[in-house]
Amino acid sequence: MNADLALQLGIQGLLTGGIYGLIGLGLSLIFGVMGVINFAHGQMIVMGMYVSFWILTLFGIDPYLSLMVVAAVIFALGYLVQSTIVNRIIDYPEAMQVVPLVSLGLILENMALLFWGPDHRSPETALGLDAIRVGSATIDVSRLMAFGLAILFTLCIFLFLKKSNLGKSIRAAADNRTGAILVGIKVNRINNISFALGAATTGAAGALLLPLMPVTPHLGHDFTLIAFVVVILGGMGNLLGALFGGLILGLAESLSALWLPATMKHLVSFGILVVIMLFKPHGLFGGKR
């Protein structure tokens, strides 16, 4: 085995892992509070990518600077989706929840196709091509940025839920909906905010992903699948778990390149997924049942 290669793959895996964590974060948050799986998750990330793409090409503002704006836009989208659709299906049997959210994904994907066309868009960004060289290894700056911000976001949201009043209400609603209603928490509003917050993290993820890969309307499916694996690994509804799940997945996929062809990369991730599901169905770090 080539030590340089292993080191390089390890670094990349770790950085990619942070991004995977961020991709899973929103899904985990939404599931944790409402018990709903957002099947339109990947498409929301793609929306985030397009919004930051737009801001970049129309105003020349780099994705790192427009990050919060993108998050806010997708926050609004999430709020709208929750208040119009998800709040109505929250008490449905799970199978019935799938269809509206899958359909939402279909709608978002094709709206992107209508608005932005089918092309692969990958404009140059400020740090898009920068890399730091340490010995023989290369650290990709845009990946490093995404990694750092992913961790920062996860911690911020974690602290927000732990410390702030609103965060505490969200957690109360997540633990016991009826109880929360009894103590006067407006659960619908809490749901709207949590879904929107989860959506906002996907928007931020989208902005951070734009420098890393070309965006097309069809990209969302893969993100949804990655998010599933990450969230199952870390435990549904467990936010820090999502981060760790992402890191594990990123490392495993990247290091698998030492032995396996790239086409089997996802075999590694789904293999891990199934093994975890069978032996620790609630995730490595515990999750919501």
């Binding site: 390089q8 066309g117 092309d119 692969h120 990958s122 992903l209 069809h218 390149a257 086409t263 990369k265």
Partner: protein
Amino acid sequence: MMDRKDQNVKGMNRRTFIKVSGAAGLGLSLTSFGVPTLLRAEPAPIKIGSVQPATGPLAMIGQGQRRGNLLAAEYINSMGGIKSMDGAKLKLLLGDSESKPEVGRQEADRLIKEGAVMLTGPFQSGVAMAIATLCEQRQVPFVMDVAALDAITRKGYKYTFRVFITAKGLVGGAVKYLKMVTKEKKVMPKRAVVTNTADAFGKGMSGGFIKFLGKSGLPIEIVERIQYPLGIHDLSAEVARIKAAKPDIIFPVSRPGDSVILTRELYKQRVELMGIFCPGSPGWYEPEVIKDLGDLILYVLINVPWINPSSPVYKQANKAFLKAYGKYLDTNSAYAYTGVLVLADALERAGSTKPEALLKALHKTYYKDPPVLGGPVQFNERGDNIGAMTGLIQVQPDPDPLKRVKIVAPKEFAQSDKIVFPAPQLWERG
């Protein structure tokens, strides 16, 4: 004239449309508004069907091809329609395969029902297979514009033709040009990496290329072959492996998205190369890719069944395309354009829309001066176009990003007489 609705193509509002139609040829205004048409009874339009992946993962290419089909039909009509049939106009019926075989089949069936006498399309080989079998069942001629996999024409179907080059022809061209470049430049890469997307086309192409390269006598060793899934969004691990293999040259068989990721990653990880030589795949000549990659895409050599810039038909088509969509007509759209021209030519010679007559006419096709490289379009007994050939193109510096792609071989078509190889390293381009 086609239906208004048909022409309300994306990105084209009414006003630009009028301009485009004006540009599409003087003939259009004469036949549409001039006296002769008013006096003559308009014959019923001849319907032909186009099924392309207008939505789904291949929408980028599919919509481009659809536009190629549309502009070609418009061009034929502007030139007076099918003269042997009293100047009957072509009416292009559009179908969307959504990039799925079963939808492609159903759409093809719909177009046949709506009266399409011939079909064209559909870029993806799998969808092509579904439609080819349907056309065999329905006995409707099917002229594939692009779909490279040889398996389709090997089925012995009577109704299937292909304007695009065969995979064998494509691969043969790649090895031929590789020999030429190394001989001319007196450099020989020793170690090579082959990468490809793991789909029918990528696997078949790169496999064939490796086989041909082995037989060619070129002393190039394939030190690594990397296949990655279609639609991958991160090639960092793969490029790390490429770097570890220390290649002199990379032979990528790619799609538009991953070519961008690959090139940027090669830059970031500073993989030292003599150059990138694409044996024949999308991803290196599309206007968006050229724009997004900037300097990084310079000097990539691509073997591809390219457009023929000196063909008057191409010049006209490109002008119309550029005006309507702000992009040049690249190879896939140009082949889509050619497909409709070949259909029109068959109709012209058959003088009828009967399948037998059309089949006979298609078999006798000798379409001179197509807008793509190569000799006249002629079909062999399998239905493959024996006139199709590839050219070698290189992306070279030019202030106008739309003019960066230059033909460098064969010489009779060349737009630039110098080939840059080895290329400067990616990070040494200022």
